[in-house]
């Protein structure tokens, strides 16, 4: 009888091991696609939406997938603006308008010719149906001067115009979109007719995959690869996918950069566009005191955060918010807040607090702050979580500030911060590599990522003014001044900028774009890296 049992067990063993032969037949590799020169990009999220201008999810990767199909008036490479649908442009200071001369050999993917009417249509259409990336509201009027010239009148001097309307807004074909009432629901093949270097062949929401084929008629030259595809991979297996040639390019964890570099992969270290911030509720006592916020800046050792929590893959926060590798950076703020528990304690004492035992108190009431962190670690790589929270708690308690740490699900934390129900909280956002208009959004605007700080007239004025300076040098000066005021007022403390890495096999010359792709996407997948412009 036991014999029979072992027989049965054997059968099970065989059945279970069925999995292994299945796993074993990995012999046939995708042959057709390899010979055809396909470029594969691996991505941890996968699905970024139907890649039409209105239907993709408005995140950086979604914009990248759309930008392969749709062109803008002008574009950027790693160092400057370059022509796209407009071969040249000029600013007419007298009437505050821009004139664009358009290329004459561009066609839509369905064969129709691209003309100035499409550009005018796009401006009018996006005024009616707001485009998520940029607002066309600043354009008072767009008019076609013949078939290949467009003039746009602005309703006020607006410095980021070229960056936003010129370099971010995708131009739509009038003959397709003119009758579309709800653009976000318009998800047919026709919605993907653009002028760009690639044409979408397939998109699968469930698998998170995209397949593009080259547009051989592209007016700026023939694409260098026949196909581009995006596939979904967990971030833990990115390096393995590169090694097994299942992917050509992917964002990789910092620790693997060195190893992959030695194996012959190209490693791109990103600009420091993403900042981790200590959000400070400046409506609450004692955080409403500038001196107290400055004390926090002295008390927190930003270099130690980078060294320990990021294992060195990042830069300590600049008190002026703009990262040191930005062209808009003001180096004068750099050493304003060296790590100094003594100076922090001095500032707090200056506000009338007394140290009793280990912690400060005033009128018998202990000073205690609640620090909110999001514990999931599901956000951008390097986003602050409970690790950073514990470390900051330790540093603040060393100075004499009692801190209680509370971990919340990330969106719960966002809503707490938005409603002002917090003392201090860890947060962060990207976009610092883009146009300095970002400063206005992150200091004045209402969002939870913004410091929402309007108490300094000087800062408000400087921020408003920098948007109107059309001359880059004087704008740079004013943005520098904004950083100095910000560092002094310290409405939210920049903690660090994590370094992000991409690895690729070198088949396409990937690069990081000046101020990011479009309005600041910090991903090295610029579509022009896939186009042979010399042909």
């Amino acid at each position: 009888m036991t014999g029979r049992l072992y027989g049965i067990l054997l059968i099970i063993a065989l059945a279970v091991s069925l999995v292994v032969p299945l796993a074993g037949c990995g012999g046939q590799k995708e042959k057709g696609t390899q010979a055809e020169n396909t470029y594969t990009v691996a991505d941890a999220t996968g699905d970024w939406g139907f890649p039409s201008p209105y239907a993709h999810y408005f995140r950086g990767p979604g914009y990248i997938r759309m930008s392969l199909i749709f062109d803008t008036l002008l574009w950027k490479n790693e160092k400057e603006y370059i022509p796209a649908l407009a071969k040249s442009w000029e600013y007419n200071a007298g009437e505050n308008s821009y004139t664009f001369s358009l290329v004459e050999n561009a066609t839509w993917h369905d064969g129709s010719k691209f003309t100035a009417r499409d550009v005018v249509f796009t401006i009018d259409y996006t005024k009616m149906h707001p485009y998520q990336g940029v607002s066309a509201g600043v354009v008072k009027k767009a008019e076609a001067l013949g078939d290949y010239r467009v003039k746009m009148y602005l309703d006020r001097p607006y410095a980021p115009f070229l960056e936003y309307i010129g370099g971010t807004l995708p131009i739509l074909p009038e003959h397709i979109w003119k009758d579309v009432g709800s653009p976000e629901k318009f998800q047919q093949e026709k919605a993907l007719v653009g002028t760009g270097p690639f044409i979408l062949e397939d998109y699968s929401k469930e698998q998170g995959s995209y397949l593009y084929r080259a547009n051989r008629e592209y007016y700026q030259g023939k694409p260098a690869v026949d196909r581009i595809r995006f596939v979904k991979m967990g971030s833990q297996v990115m390096a393995a996918a590169l090694r097994q040639k299942q992917a050509s390019a992917a964002q990789v964890p910092p620790e693997l950069g060195g190893a992959l570099d030695e194996e012959g992969f190209f490693i791109l270290a990103g600009k420091h566009d993403w900042v981790a911030k200590l959000m400070i509720n400046h409506q609450r006592e004692p955080l409403n005191k500038k001196e107290f916020r400055q004390a926090l800046a002295f008390a927190i050792d930003r270099q130690a955060l980078v060294g320990t929590c990021l294992r060195g893959h990042g830069l300590p926060g600049s008190p002026g918010l703009i990262p040191p590798d930005s062209p808009w950076y003001n180096a004068a703020v750099e050493n304003q807040y060296p790590h100094s528990p003594e100076r922090a304690a001095l500032l707090i004492k200056g506000l009338g607090y007394e140290k009793k035992g280990n912690f400060f108190e005033k009128n018998g009431r202990a000073l205690e702050l609640e620090l909110l962190v999001s514990g999931g670690g599901q956000g951008s790589p390097g986003a602050p979580g409970d690790r950073e929270g514990e470390m900051i708690k330790g540093q603040l308690e060393k100075v004499g500030l009692k801190v209680s740490l509370r971990s919340l699900e990330s969106k719960t934390l966002d809503s707490r911060v938005a409603e002002g129900q917090y003392d201090i909280a860890l947060g962060g956002h990207g976009g610092l590599g883009g146009d300095p208009e970002m400063l206005n959004r992150m200091i004045l605007d209402k969002g939870f990522n913004s410091a929402r700080y309007q108490d300094s007239q000087e800062l408000n004025l400087a921020l408003k003014q920098q948007l109107t300076l059309m001359d880059r040098e004087s704008r740079r000066e004013l943005v520098g001044k904004v950083q100095e005021i910000y560092a002094r007022e310290m409405p939210a403390l920049p903690l660090y900028y994590p370094t992000w890495y991409w690895a690729h096999d070198g088949r396409a010359p990937l690069y990081y774009t000046l101020q990011g792709v479009g309005s600041g996407v910090p991903i090295p997948l610029n579509k022009m890296a896939f186009v042979n412009q010399n042909d």
Partner: protein, 323 residues
């Protein structure tokens, strides 16, 4: 057996669940606009865009108005429009459900069948070497969470040995013929399936073994043996039938988690299933999609219950008197 009381019972449960479905997502802190658009620094949230989004998401209606609209469109068979994905909820669900059903359904069948069989065999041979080996082995496996087993399998078979694909449910864009496609699908399925089976096998095995042990002491087993019934007949026809009851209940219970139970395994293997979908819907506060997922999961639970209740009476006629 299905009388009016039964129907009213289930209708009541459904109504309660519908209300819960509506309320739970809205009770969560944070609103969809903030959750979907707030994170992205590059978005130009102009007042016009905000207004347009609010009216698109019907967030300008009162809670009662939204509830009425929800029930109304449900009655028309319309599950609504996903905030985040910009497509009808039904389409999103249909895209992910088959993959989850395949993965979890298969895992459940294999783990229940195998667990029942091993449990009965092991319980019958209580205390002998085979039993102790099986028991000890399963105890060890059961201490490992599914995401842990999954990650371990992925690290060994996927990353180190390179035997199986690293992610997803199919290799995108190879498509030649159904046979390679089937093999490709199975290769992708192998590891997530194995981790789910391993994670669930122990529970079934233990239950089957435990009840088997209890039953083996019953007088009727002695009778069966003394009648000269063969070993397998005693094990399966007499004793095993008793183990079926709790095992079927347990399987039914696990089936209730069909929709969202494989969340962690799906995340580890980037498998396109409902668990991962719900997680994203939670993070984006995508109310219509969450309602859709909750509804689907509630309907599954109710259906499974009904089936289990009916099955009981087939398996153990004594239960019929209890109703």
């Amino acid at each position: 057996m299905i009388n009016r009381g039964y129907c009213i019972n289930y209708l009541l449960a459904l109504m309660v669940i519908l209300t819960l479905n509506f309320m739970l997502p809205r009770l969560m802190p944070g609103d969809p606009l903030q959750a979907i658009y707030g994170d992205e620094a590059m978005i130009a949230m102009t007042p016009e865009l905000k207004e347009e989004l609010i009216s698109r998401y019907s967030l300008d209606l009162t809670q009662a108005g939204q509830f009425r609209a929800y029930i109304g469109s449900l009655l028309r068979g319309d599950l609504g429009y996903s905030y985040y994905y910009n497509v009808p909820v039904a389409a999103v669900l249909l895209g992910s459900f088959p993959w989850t059903a395949l993965l979890v359904g298969l895992a459940l069948c294999i783990s229940t069948g195998l667990g029942l069989f091993l449990g009965i065999e092991s319980g019958y041979r209580r205390g002998r070497t085979v039993d102790r080996l099986l028991l000890g082995g399963f105890m060890w496996i059961s201490g490992l969470p599914d995401f842990f087993v999954g990650m371990l399998l992925l690290l060994i078979f996927g990353v180190t040995l390179g035997l199986v694909p690293l992610a997803g449910a199919v290799t995108p864009y190879t498509g030649q013929g159904w046979a390679p496609a089937l093999i490709d699908g199975l290769r992708h399925l192998a590891l997530p399936l194995a981790s789910l089976v391993l994670a669930r096998l122990t529970a079934t095995y233990l239950l089957a073994r435990n009840t088997m042990i209890t039953t083996m002491g019953e007088p009727f087993i002695m009778t069966a043996r003394s009648k000269g019934c063969s070993g397998p007949a005693v094990r399966y026809r007499h004793a095993g039938r008793n183990s079926l009851l709790p095992v079927v209940t347990a399987a039914g219970l696990q089936l209730s988690h069909l929709i969202t139970g494989a969340l962690f395994v799906e995340i580890v293997f980037s498998y396109p299933g409902m668990g991962a979908l719900m997680y994203n819907a939670l993070l984006t506060r995508d109310y219509p999609l969450l309602q859709g997922i909750l509804l689907l999961s509630a309907v599954t639970v109710l259906t499974v219950n009904l089936l289990v209740d009916l099955l009981y009476k087939r398996i153990d006629p004594r239960v019929a008197y209890a109703h």
